[in-house]
């Protein structure tokens, strides 16, 4: 993946490197990431249109997983309503482009801002909840948003869907085409990964990890936990909202059932957890791995692909509960690469 190598500095800041690790120049993750992005920039001309759409979907999930990682991975708040921000961004775009007839390039940042403001407003009461309660509350917000969108058809088209005019005179912004959306989602994925990398290295990243490990202790050490959590939630929502806006324009016609599908949230979580929560690289690897596996299964096992995906998730969760990146880091450090001893850690 393009921006994968931006992860290494974050990994280093979370856990100081031991002396024997081979030294690489400090700029290599950024340089390597830039090289990979350049490679992806040339890739779209080499792919069939079907493959190109698959890779575009992978980029979207990289962006979504990176965004969820901020609130779920670093801060440790299991947000089960992330898809609410996705749908909110999508429907903000629809309303702005269809009713206000604004350009997509205004609607995209507007969608991010709307999602961020909404997250900050609901975050103030909801981020006081812990654990499962936060998970259920955010799930309730997302489901409530879906019902709301379904029931104001004058603005959103309701359950029968809304269409963004994308060709001819009625189009405020012409549809971007497969190549255009490839580049748009690549850009979004890069932005999300860079934002996460910067947050991870900065003061906020330390505050978020402190909140994750022990919120009371973090507060006692002078971390303003409310501000840190709300900022993480809002930034995560903004990135998700932007992805939703781009997805809405790509799909042209959108339906609330699809845009607020709880499965999208769960996919984000699966990707982050299996890749490695709280790392920059993990969600990127997880998103790419699962999106590609899912697409492969869809083509080769059309009947049973969800079933196989379920079985794979079960196996992966049992063997690698802390995610690929965290497992690899600990395994390298302790020289213990056995998956069985990994299972023993969490077994009852």
């Amino acid at each position: 993946m393009a921006e994968s190598s931006t992860a290494a500095p974050a990994a280093d800041t979370t856990r100081p490197a031991r002396g024997r690790r081979p030294r690489l120049p400090a700029w290599w993750p950024w340089g390597g990431g830039a090289l990979l992005v350049l490679g992806c920039l040339g890739l779209q001309s080499q792919l069939y249109s079907g493959q190109e759409r698959t890779v575009t979907t992978v980029f979207m999930f990289v962006a979504l997983a990176a965004a969820w990682n901020l609130i779920g991975g670093y801060t440790g708040y299991a947000c089960f309503g992330q898809v609410g921000f996705f749908g909110l961004g999508a429907y903000t775009t629809v309303i702005l482009m269809v009713h206000a007839r604004l350009s997509f390039w205004i609607a995209l940042p507007a969608a991010a801002v709307v999602a961020a403001v909404f997250a900050a407003v609901i975050g103030l009461p909801l981020l006081r909840l812990k654990g499962h309660y936060f998970a259920v509350a955010t799930l309730g917000v997302a489901e409530g948003l879906r019902e709301l969108v379904t029931n104001v058809p004058r603005w959103t088209g309701g359950g029968s869907g809304a269409t963004i005019p994308s060709t001819g005179d009625r189009a405020v912004t012409p549809w971007l085409g497969n190549d255009g959306f490839y580049l748009l989602f690549l850009g979004l994925a890069v932005v999300c990964a860079v934002v996460v990398a910067l947050v991870s290295r900065g003061r906020t990243g330390y505050a978020l990890r402190a909140v994750n490990q022990d919120e009371d202790a973090a507060a006692a050490m002078g971390v303003n936990t409310t501000v840190a959590k709300t900022v993480a939630f809002a930034v995560s929502a903004a990135l998700t909202g932007a992805a939703g806006a781009a997805y809405a324009f790509q799909q042209v016609t959108i339906y609330p059932q699809r845009l607020f599908d709880v499965d999208i949230t769960v996919l984000m979580i699966v990707m982050v957890v299996l890749g490695g929560a709280g790392t920059v690289l993990g969600p990127i690897l997880g998103a790419a791995g699962i999106a590609i596996a899912s697409e492969y299964l869809r083509q080769h096992l059309p009947e049973a692909h969800d079933l196989t995906l379920g079985a794979l998730i079960i196996i992966a969760v049992i063997l690698l509960p802390q995610g690929v990146v965290n497992f690899a880091r600990d395994a390298v450090r302790t020289r213990d690469f056995s998956l069985l001893s990994n299972v023993r850690r969490y077994r009852l």
């Binding site: 779920g72 440790g76 299991a78 609901i122 009461p125 909801l126 006081r128 909840l129 654990g131 499962h132 309660y133 998970a135 259920v136 509350a137 799930l139 309730g140 917000v141 489901e143 409530g144 019902e147 709301l148 379904t150 029931n151 709880v262 769960v266 979580i269 699966v270 957890v273 299996l274 929560a277 009947e303 049973a304 969800d306 079933l307 995906l309 379920g310 079985a311 794979l312 998730i313 079960i314 969760v317 049992i318 509960p321 802390q322 299972v343 850690r345 969490y346 077994r347 009852l348």
Partner: protein, 295 residues
């Protein structure tokens, strides 16, 4: 007025069924701190088993509750022993993901076997009804389902409070470390708990098959209802789940009368979020396990 009364009756009957589904979900959540996203698919497995028993040997769906519950108890025990116990000490996302994978597996397995078509089990009496008063009709099938659901829920509470096994489950839920030191086999107790929850879900599924149509995609709805009922009632509190289920049934029935379209769901979720933000311990009082020590 009679329309309102009819909605109330319908809501209470539906609420009884919700309560039976939610009580197992709440038990697993309270005792093991596991949110079982596959709970709704257990309900459907129960419904399809009842459907199959009815088709093959003509068994009445309410009589089928017994073999269905037994089968799901065994399945639930094995799932907990073989899968969930392996990750029960990991962070909460992990068990969530595991049960999500299980849900995908079960729902899509059901779709493969039975397709996505709506099914139902028809009995001679379930659609009959009697008039409670002018304009208020009580369908026999739903009444039977609600009464059985209530009895099963109360029986579960009695088992938990009165029997050695029930007390072992409660003790393990309060403090797993201390329970193990007292000689309780936590692995076995967890598996029993999960088996009981699955059995309740299966019994509820058999009742669902008798009172209406169902298809594999309903699993998510049932899980969500149990979620809401369990939270409204307070985590792990079984009487709370009963009350939560009733409240949910009533809100759904009244909302369907008063509000256009599916806006009632939006209201239900708004109530849920408000309850969580203001009274996270649920409307029925404090959570059963207020001080949890994880060992």
């Amino acid at each position: 007025m009679s329309q309102f009364l009819q909605a109330t009756v319908y809501g209470l009957l539906q609420g009884g069924l919700f309560a039976l589904i939610a009580v197992g979900f709440s038990l697993v959540w309270g005792v093991m701190n596991v949110i079982n996203l596959a709970h709704g698919s257990f309900v459907l497995v129960g419904a399809y088993l009842a459907f199959e028993l009815n088709r093959r040997i003509g068994l009445d769906p309410f009589a089928a509750m017994v073999p269905v519950a037994a089968a799901l108890f065994a399945a639930g025990y094995l799932v907990q022993r073989g899968l969930i116990n392996l990750v029960v000490k990991a962070p909460i996302f992990i068990t969530l993901l595991l049960t999500f994978g299980l849900n995908l597996l079960l729902v899509n397995g059901l779709i493969l076997i039975y397709s996505g078509d709506y099914r139902s089990v028809t009995t001679g009496y379930a659609a009959d009804g009697f008039a409670l008063m002018s304009g208020v009709r009580v369908p026999v099938g739903r009444l039977l389902a609600a009464v059985v659901a209530l009895l099963l829920t109360l029986a579960l509470v009695a088992v938990m409070r009165r029997t050695r096994t029930g007390l072992a489950i409660l003790a393990t839920g309060m403090d797993r470390g201390a329970a193990r030191l007292m000689g309780i086999r936590a692995r076995h107790v967890y598996a029993l708990t999960f088996g009981l929850a699955a059995a309740m879900a299966g019994a509820a599924g058999a009742a669902v098959s008798a009172v209406g149509t169902f298809n594999p995609a309903d699993a998510g709805r049932f899980t969500l209802f149990s979620f809401v009922a369990a939270v409204l009632g307070g985590l792990g509190n079984m009487y709370g789940a009963l009350i939560g289920g009733m409240v949910l049934g009533l809100v759904e029935a009244w909302g369907g009368q008063l509000l256009p379209g599916t806006l009632v769901n939006a209201v239900a979720f708004a109530v849920l979020v408000a309850v969580l933000a203001v009274r996270p311990e649920g409307i029925a009082g404090r959570a059963f396990y207020s001080s949890r020590v994880e060992v």
